[in-house]
Assembly symmetry: C2
Homo-oligomer: 476 residues x 2
Amino acid sequence: MNDSATLAAFLAACRETLGAAHVLTDPHDTAPYLTDWRRRYTGAACAVLRPASSEEVAALVRLAVAHRVALVPQGGNTGLAGGATPDTSGTQAVVSLARMNRVRAIDTHNNTITVEAGVVLAQVQASALEAGRLFPLSLAAEGSCTIGGNLATNAGGTGVLRYGNTRELCLGLEVVTPQGEIWDGLRGLRKDNTGYDLRDLYIGAEGTLGIITAAVMKLHPLPAARVTALAGLASPHAALDFLALAQRYAGPLLTGFELMSEFCLKLVGRHFPQLRYPFDAPHAQTVLLELSDSESEAHARSLFERMMEAAIEEGLVEDAVVAENLSQTRAFWDLREHIPLAQAEEGLNIKNDIAVPISSIGRFIEETDAAIAAAVPGARMVTFGHLGDGNLHYNVQAPEGGDPKAFLAAHQSALNRIVNDNVHRHRGSISAEHGLGQLKIDEAARYKSPVEVALMRAVKTALDPLGLMNPGKVLR
Amino acid sequence: MNDSATLAAFLAACRETLGAAHVLTDPHDTAPYLTDWRRRYTGAACAVLRPASSEEVAALVRLAVAHRVALVPQGGNTGLAGGATPDTSGTQAVVSLARMNRVRAIDTHNNTITVEAGVVLAQVQASALEAGRLFPLSLAAEGSCTIGGNLATNAGGTGVLRYGNTRELCLGLEVVTPQGEIWDGLRGLRKDNTGYDLRDLYIGAEGTLGIITAAVMKLHPLPAARVTALAGLASPHAALDFLALAQRYAGPLLTGFELMSEFCLKLVGRHFPQLRYPFDAPHAQTVLLELSDSESEAHARSLFERMMEAAIEEGLVEDAVVAENLSQTRAFWDLREHIPLAQAEEGLNIKNDIAVPISSIGRFIEETDAAIAAAVPGARMVTFGHLGDGNLHYNVQAPEGGDPKAFLAAHQSALNRIVNDNVHRHRGSISAEHGLGQLKIDEAARYKSPVEVALMRAVKTALDPLGLMNPGKVLR
């Protein structure tokens, strides 16, 4: 709600602070920042601001306060919920952290890396590797997403079973508060009980409580070998029992446990026939397992063989194959990673990123499948995900031969309601790893208790009384 | 600041709510709740309230709000910082969670246990074990401390290297807010990105933001074997390099890495001569290692042997011995656990529970030792702790033959200042695992930045505007 004179004064002050080259206002320059990754949202902005240091971020926030301009922090702009896209008013300013891309320090004895918010995730991984360490956060967008965005959304990915979400990988933060002060919480400590856990309050807050400018992240020892295996099973229930068995055999060496339904792999076979399903006959469910072994590949393979033998003997697994070498390991992961691509080839579809207690997954799938089949006969469920985390991508494709666009237009909101209602019944999460952004803000409000919403609002109002930090995200 | 009529009305309403038997006012009955474990603090209370359910806790909080009575939540009363002891005014009420001691559910497929706040830690461990799972939180007071207290103080203990602090073991909470509402955050999810992380805000807040009444805690697979070893080394620096080597060899199987200085073990030898140090000659530093192996004891022993061989070859370890059996494993832990007892036998001493980045531990010890030797010639440093967590118990004993009481009276605050100043220089924590309570509240304020104190105060004021939740703890 700013008049143009105020905005002009704000922009002039920003140019003074950053230099004119880093205050983008030309539509050609700002366009890449104004549409989200999935192209669901296109906003407008009075400017895209590109600070190079925490001090510059702090100065910008103080200017925003003085001129009452709302700020939308942005990392690699790969978010899946529109959390980094401004509204359409043209009065908000995007703060891109892309120029804050220094690795400040690596401490191999402390197993930590200190990075600025704009460092691309793949660069964090590469820097760790160079120092002989593992930074285990890994997800599809890793070549362009930034660690600041990962923190703001508490990103998940494929390593959560063993290493946790981004939250569990963070020891300390530097944050610019909504008052334009720098909170130096860059501690590299495993233990620190000296007051409220501000770090975890900022993680996952999607930029609505302040702007994360740097972080101390945990590193892990590099495993000596990673080996994968595939197992064919009769049902999600069998997969749950198999998970318990695999954890008993492998303990913390088990770093991946991904479930894929028969229809998922049928779609992959249809659209990527060069990817080979290694079993002779299809199985109702296929599990991809990964072991990260600190000893050797031979040790991991032998552990897998014992585990699979026991699982077959107990009647949990119908058939199993352990990857013979690195290229077969890659080929197994390829099957898993091509599911979303095969879905895209098959046509537009409805996506859900949900979590339920692991023990409920079998029942959840059965119940939701039945409810959807009743609502839209022929709708095809594409169910896969991180079973070990209770996180399913429960997606729905139009009936065979149906028109995907018409299907979405007619059924998307009703089917989302069916899925989310059942998630809620199982005390699950309607957004397991993608956050709320602007996409799921109303759905979240629908399922959260008034007590929880009131607590969240109290925190928001206390820390950002002017409401200038990424308004319209997380909370309305 | 309550007049006696208000207090009487409050107590009458409490009796109405809980039944008179659970509103203790007789000094004989209340005494055990009014002095802390270390006998540093003795408070007074208008009553000790013993609710049996979350609804009763909520009702008590609403009565406290109506009558403006401050509440001090208490679990097993084993805290080391006076966080559960009321002030001396006699106007506060202690809320004991001891009657809320039900295990509500165990879910082996989800690897979770849902417990009420008053369940004793050892009972949580036993319930998990009965279900074939490990609840890894373990600490000296486990026979009487409660899980609610562990959560309120984010307790550490001996399993942090692999399993994390209490914070990392908690998936969901039930909390009674300062308004007397029940927040049902009892989620058993590994992934949930739907808003602010209220759970972690309550964990470690020591009852100043609300009263934790129940929690969903993570369980782990039971390891097949736990094996320990001792290694003799020349310096803390060598221990750091050895830690990196051990993590490379054992990855997540390494569950313990405890450092003990020569003087620690000399004290143990003096006061507990039946405990045998297994090496022929003393070493400047001794490390106790623990492996938790999902395969077998034989596998763990063979892994230890390869690790120790490499460490001796690299010149990091002077001598090493792997426990032959369970009783030797016990004997090695006995050495470690008798250090505080040997200290007590030797006489009163100054205790510090600090953390620094692991990489700084060698320098921290050298510098602090030198500064203390300069300040009090002959003072004897008893340095041991969880090296793998960067957490040291850096204690100081009077010079040989000196009077411990006089030593403490003369030097305690000056020596604490030396230790904490150096902790601060290394960006460490002055309370790694014990919390602030009332004991360290001023020290914490001394080292925290004004920005951080202001953020903490904003959160406190937003959630507890009347200041009735455990006032005088964490923040003044």
